[in-house]
Amino acid sequence: MLPRFLEGIRFADLTWAGAGPFSTKLFSDFGAEVIKIESRSRPDPVRVGGPFKDGKAGIDRSGYFASRNTRKKSLCMNMKNDESREIIFDLIRRSDVVSNNFGPGAMERLGLGYEDVKAIKPDIIYLSMPMYGEDGPLANLTGVGMTISAVSGLMWQTGYAGEAPLGPGTHFPDHAANPYHAAFAVMAALRHRRATGRGMKIDLAQVESTINCMGLSFLEYAMTGEERPRVGNRSPHHAPHGIFRCAGEDDWCAVAVTSDAQWLAFCEVVGSQALSSDRSLDTAAGRLAAVDRIEAELSKWTAALPAEDVMRRLQARGVPAGVVAHSKHLMERDAQLASRGYWQTLDHPEIGPSRFTSPPYRLDGERIELVRPPLIGEHTEAVLSGILGYSPDRIAELRTKGALE
């Protein structure tokens, strides 16, 4: 289905890079008109960062950009040009939401701070999502997604036991915690405006958002005064609980036994007499005490089997187990994702047919159909004439003056 759930909602979207556009993509995928305001002279970093179709760079060839900007429109202008602010103001007057993820003060320097915008559109919903918030002693600290992992405790707690902290291998907070907290807040603001007539400002400090996703660790510390050491893939509560090497070059399977019933099934599948006959392992506490021995037995078993066999055999008896999937596995081998129609192929004038992840749910039994991302400036004329009502002469004049790119 091509949902029109948010028809009539318009975004003047100044977000760029990862977290901001991933948030506004949700709205365009559900039918809001998200107008991405961008620039050729200072392009969105993910447009120039790749990966690119066939490894060949090009401003319309980035897969990373494509994946964050489906069903959006692109309005391309030189933000530093004197005429640009008036165009953006005209667009804001006809918009419901203004979104950005610049650092503190950047929007104010463009004359697009909340107070500036509210003066021309009093009921605007204004989303800012700087890393550490808009004000305060560290507001101007330079950061990337991994910085957020570092200062939120996620990096500290993620790593092998007895070794240094590593953190997630990606800029993880950029790809769910922050864009989706932001999206939830924007929907709340739209409802609130509908009920009260009032707009609002949303200040999403990405560090504060991410700390909520570390809430279980924080509350445990607040209640017990104890901070857990890094445990690798183990669990303080269950054993076995880990990722085990399987037959193959770099193939692994995750296995977790989280109940006594699962333990009995596990012992039968693994076929270890030494484990199944040991009554001290009938309880979680007993298994935790013997975790090294259990893992050694399990590793012997998995090492001789393909990872998918380990998963299937254990899952057949209700024991949680899963192949450690990489991108190729997900796209070419995972039977579940294929069966649920998770991958969509969209054609694109520069990239050609390429694959996209669907929104991660089925809605009323169907997939949400995606629409390809815009070429840079693809909708400039359409937005200026169709939404803002500019005449062809005015548009030509703006081009001459260098306001449009």
């Binding site: 918030g133 910085t147 993880f172 958002s209 690798g232 303080p236 990489h326 749910y361």
Partner: protein, 388 residues
């Protein structure tokens, strides 16, 4: 809090919370903004109350975090009377959050049979359809089959799970936003909606650019950023812990700021890092360069504390920050300045809002409920509704 708004974004919206794990944070997001979120539990309470670790009072700490602001009503759905109450609760709710219950295999059909506009959001590890639909899941397995574990850890060691049960948060966040949008549509058009949310798909949707790297360039992204991540992008040992530095060539200000600082302090690394091999992006992502960078940089910061390094980062625009322990968070000067941390009604320290709204609409009002704490209120509401 003063000046509390009577109208909140989810005022008047009732949510039945039948989640046990993946969906619990979703319900909280609605509750924090004014929805009446009601946990419907069997006698004795639902098992998610006992998920470890447990606090000094014997109650699960995850339960306490994920169920703040919610209500609890105990309904014995094994009885005819209980089933009638359950149907009545469904009929007065605009949102139902559901995770499969072993004792009530037909619950989803039962919910669907109750008339009225409603968004039903179903949480599971792999989705309601497909060959893995019946698979057993847990956070670790979702991280494995979703693809994030593969990308984390170091070459030569096993792939690595992320801490803090991240699959729970990722799944709940995707689901909450989609539920909110579906409700918006339902209120406008009267259409009911059903969301079948898969934790595996949520994780696979959050893999940075790994999917596109394979699709467009036929490369498999690997843990440790093997061959891609720069030598100057990692956590490094300093005087009192670890500091995270991100100073690849692409971040000109950060790399330049680091070199200038090392030079000013007279560290020999400054001269080494201007040699030609350090200007080569591909070389900088190789193991020998990573080892050399770590040796030089850790020598440089050996006597510097996390907080000193943070101050330098701020002054010199270097992308560098402390690797904070959980115990450090409440002393973070930015979070202190912004008065971020709050408390539960019983005084336990608690994270503040994930976003600041310019009106005071987000608040923590109630501790996670004891089983049936709100029986009288909720059942009274049902009686009043039936009289209407």
């Amino acid at each position: 809090m003063t000046n509390e708004s009577a109208v909140r974004p989810y005022s008047g919206i009732r949510v039945l919370d039948l989640t046990r794990e993946l969906g619990s944070y979703c319900g909280r997001l609605f509750a924090d903004l004014g929805a009446e979120v009601i946990r419907v539990e069997p006698p004795g309470g639902r098992e998610d109350r006992r998920i470890a670790p447990v606090g000094p009072d014997g109650e699960g700490i995850p339960y306490r975090f994920l169920n703040v602001n919610k209500k609890s009503v105990v309904v014995d759905r094994r009885t005819a009377e209980g089933r009638a109450v359950f149907r009545d609760l469904v009929s007065v709710s605009q949102i139902v959050l559901y995770e499969a219950e072993p004792d009530h295999a037909d619950a989803l059909a039962e919910i669907a049979s109750v008339p009225g506009m409603r968004v039903t959001t179903v949480f599971s590890y792999f989705g309601l359809t497909g060959p893995y639909a019946g698979y057993a899941g847990c956070d670790l397995v979702a991280q494995a089959l979703g693809g994030i574990a593969w990308l984390s850890g170091e070459p030569g060691k096993p792939p690595l799970q992320l801490a803090g049960r991240q699959s729970v948060f990722v799944t709940s966040l995707y689901a909450a936003a989609a539920t909110a949008i579906s409700l918006w549509d339902g209120e406008r058009t009267g259409a009911s909606h059903m969301l079948d949310v898969s934790a595996q798909e949520c994780i696979a949707h959050s893999l940075q650019n790994a999917i596109q790297v394979y699709d467009l360039e036929n490369r498999i992204s690997r843990r440790g950023g093997e061959g891609t991540r720069d030598a100057a992008e990692s956590a490094f040992v300093c005087a009192d812990g670890y500091v995270f530095l991100c100073a690849p060539l692409a971040l000109t200000a950060s790399w330049g700021g680091l070199l200038a600082w090392m030079k000013e302090e007279g560290h020999p690394g400054a001269a080494r890092f201007i040699e030609p091999d350090w200007q080569d992006r591909a070389l900088r992502a190789t193991e020998p360069m990573k080892v050399e960078f770590r040796r030089i940089f850790e020598d440089f910061v050996r006597a510097k504390t996390k907080n000193e390094l943070r101050d330098v980062a701020l002054a010199r625009k270097i992308c560098m920050a402390p690797v904070s322990r959980i115990a450090d968070l409440e002393a973070d000067p930015q979070l202190v300045f912004r008065n971020y941390f709050g408390a539960l009604p019983d005084g336990t320290h608690f994270p503040g809002p994930p976003y600041r709204l310019s009106e005071p609409l987000w608040r923590i009002e109630r501790d996670a409920p004891a089983p049936g704490r709100d029986d009288a209120e909720v059942l009274g509401m049902l009686r009043a509704a039936s009289r209407r």
